[in-house]
């Protein structure tokens, strides 16, 4: 019965013949993607395939690159964790409470999306120097953030701030008050309700937000290059290393490092897609 309904629904099976432009739109979209995305990707992997395993390792797995990966991934992970905590806080406050200028604060969350990363890098590099707005208070206490790995983490936290907020917010909004009322009726305290009922329901969104932040942070270049001293082995991230290899015309080395970075990002993409599909499935089965 249900199957019959689905099949007769006009938007699914039957538009194929009626609506025009299928071949035109699809062939254009595919050609466009081939030219702009697939051919460049093939070029990258093609370049990498000219290297032998030894050459690849020699380029992508030296002491300096390992240090760069470590700085990249550890800074990204710390920033993503920080954004997950801050994002949950902001989403909760923006959904649940009312306060003056709430709409303004809500829209400010999106600023890191809109602000060019170079500007972010520029201004963050000036805030935490000894004479900067933040540095003048922090440096006397011995907190020297400028040009250190902390500065990288800080600017990555800024860049990734919107992701968790914007993934958690809709989930929090769509949550029924019934659930909390049920928990309260069963004798749970507010904190118990949060810990045992609300938070588990937010896990998929939180993990998705974390993964999005992390993936974005791994590839970030524009802001980090300004706030970091870019010292090899200490505050040099992998994208900076790629640029440096390119400037020295060492294309093979640059490619090898890029492949490592790319595979890490693809893995995050797969995690995100799997999670989103699972959340969607859970949502549709709940309805």
């Amino acid at each position: 019965m249900l199957r019959g309904i689905c099949l007769e629904s006009p938007s699914v099976m039957s538009t194929q013949r009626i609506l025009p432009g299928f071949r035109l739109s699809l062939s254009f979209a595919i050609s466009y993607l081939c030219l702009l995305v697939l051919i460049p990707l093939v070029a990258l992997f093609g370049k990498a395939s000219t290297l032998t395993a030894q050459q690849f390792l020699a380029a992508a797995w030296t002491e300096r690159t390992r240090a760069a990966y470590f700085v990249t991934f550890s800074s990204s992970a710390i920033a993503a964790i920080a954004d997950t905590v801050l994002g949950l806080l902001l989403a909760w406050v923006l959904v649940r409470y009312d306060f003056p200028f709430k709409r303004l604060f809500d829209s400010l969350v999106d600023l890191p999306f809109a602000l060019p990363t170079a500007v972010a890098g520029l201004v963050y590099s000036s805030l935490y120097v000894p004479k900067g707005w933040m540095g003048q208070f922090l440096v006397p206490w011995g907190i020297k953030l400028a040009y250190s790995q902390s500065a990288i983490v800080l600017v990555l936290t800024f860049i990734g701030l919107p992701f968790v907020v914007r993934t958690v917010q809709p989930v929090l909004e769509s949550m029924d008050a019934d659930i909390e009322e049920a928990a309260a009726c069963l004798g749970a305290s507010r904190w118990q309700t949060f810990r045992r009922v609300l938070l588990p329901a937010l896990y998929p969104a939180l993990i998705t937000g974390f993964a999005l932040t992390f993936a974005r942070a791994i590839g970030e270049y524009g802001s980090v290059v300004f706030v970091s001293s870019n010292t090899p082995m200490k505050t040099e991230i992998a994208p900076v290393l790629i640029v440096q290899k390119l400037e020295e015309f060492q294309y093979a080395e640059a490619t090898a490092i890029a492949i490592v970075l790319l595979l890490a990002s693809f893995m995050m993409l797969i995690v995100i897609n799997t999670l989103e599909r699972r959340t969607e499935a859970a949502n549709s089965s709940a309805n």
């Binding site: 609506l19 739109s25 993607l33 460049p40 990258l44 406050v93 306060f99 809109a114 800024f158 790629i242």
Partner: protein, 307 residues
């Protein structure tokens, strides 16, 4: 990896169905105000202070110096001009692509449909620097097409074409990702009705599809444009950063910043303030559009379901 477009319908619901006065959802006042203060502090330190700082540095020597910093320098003007040229071209290309892809994906079922959606997302997962590198490998002197381009005296790398290509690559998903959920939600009913009333493909597209998706489309354009104007890493790699020729605004900001003198420092902040203002305008338009699209979708739902 921008996830904003995906959550648009929900984000808009935020404004309508927020505060439920159910007792079980009430928190004690000290928790409420404690959390609110923390949130505001976070936004203050991470977002508001930096933005204010940009304008503080830009205007630290008064508006006259600010204006001179922006306009007196021919190279800065060139950078502004280049950005104003690159961004619209990239946005236009991605609009055509986004509409075509969204049309194919939401109106038809075909094998590989899910794969196509995943490929559209790929540029989000690729570091801008890696994106730049890919185009260097294709068009560089030692790249796959390099010798042929050189033989035909075509300049791609370190020139306008490469800057447009990487910018388009980096911003590719925005319009499509915004349109797909919007077109899915609107459904094909009106378009089928138009065809049954005798409209041809273009009549249907311009009279029915475009008016229905216009706010969603504009939203995608705004996000796409903001990112296109602000792209740094990918352009940094392919442009060669030839002063006065292939510097875009963000690249110019970087060059001035590294210039080392207090004059260039002030100039870099002056130019950065222009980009910041663009970001604020983007944000403003974005909020307005979110309300529009939410209203549209709500209306679509109400018309489809009827009483």
């Amino acid at each position: 990896m921008h996830s904003v477009p995906k959550h648009l319908p929900n984000a808009a619901a935020a404004s309508t169905g927020t505060l439920r006065g159910r007792a079980a959802q009430q928190d004690p006042w000290w928790i409420r105000w404690g959390l609110i203060s923390c949130s505001i502090a976070v936004l203050l330190v991470l977002v508001i202070l930096p933005v204010a700082n940009v304008f503080y540095h830009a205007f630290s020597h008064g508006p006259v110096v600010y204006w001179q910093n922006l306009t007196a320098d021919a190279e800065t003007w060139n950078a502004i001009r280049l950005t104003l040229l690159v961004a619209p071209v990239s946005v236009a290309l991605n609009v055509i692509f986004g509409v075509a892809a969204a049309w194919a994906i939401t109106r038809f079922r075909f094998p590989g449909r899910t794969l196509l959606t995943t490929i559209i997302d790929l540029p989000f997962a690729i570091s801008p620097v890696v994106a730049g590198l890919m185009f260097v490998l294709l068009f560089g002197a030692k790249g796959y097409f390099g010798p042929w381009l050189q033989a035909n005296h075509l300049q791609v790398l370190n020139a306008f074409p490469a800057i447009v290509m990487v910018t388009t690559f980096v911003t590719l998903p925005f319009v499509a990702r915004e349109l797909i959920p919007v077109m899915e939600a609107i459904g094909a009913d009106e378009e089928i009705a138009a065809i049954s009333l005798g409209a041809n493909g273009w009549q249907m597209f311009w009279r029915i599809t475009v008016p229905n998706i216009k706010w969603g489309l504009l939203y995608g354009v705004i996000l796409c444009n903001a990112r296109a104007m602000g792209e740094f890493g990918a352009v940094y790699v392919v442009s060669g950063r030839i002063i006065g020729k292939t510097e875009t605004m963000p690249i110019r900001v970087g060059t001035l910043f590294e210039g080392g003198t207090s004059a260039t420092y002030a100039s870099s902040f002056a130019l950065a303030s222009v980009l910041t203002m663009l970001a604020l305008v983007t944000l403003f338009i974005k909020i307005a559009l979110e309300r529009k699209t939410a209203a549209d979708l709500k209306e679509a739902a109400s018309i489809q379901q009827t009483e």
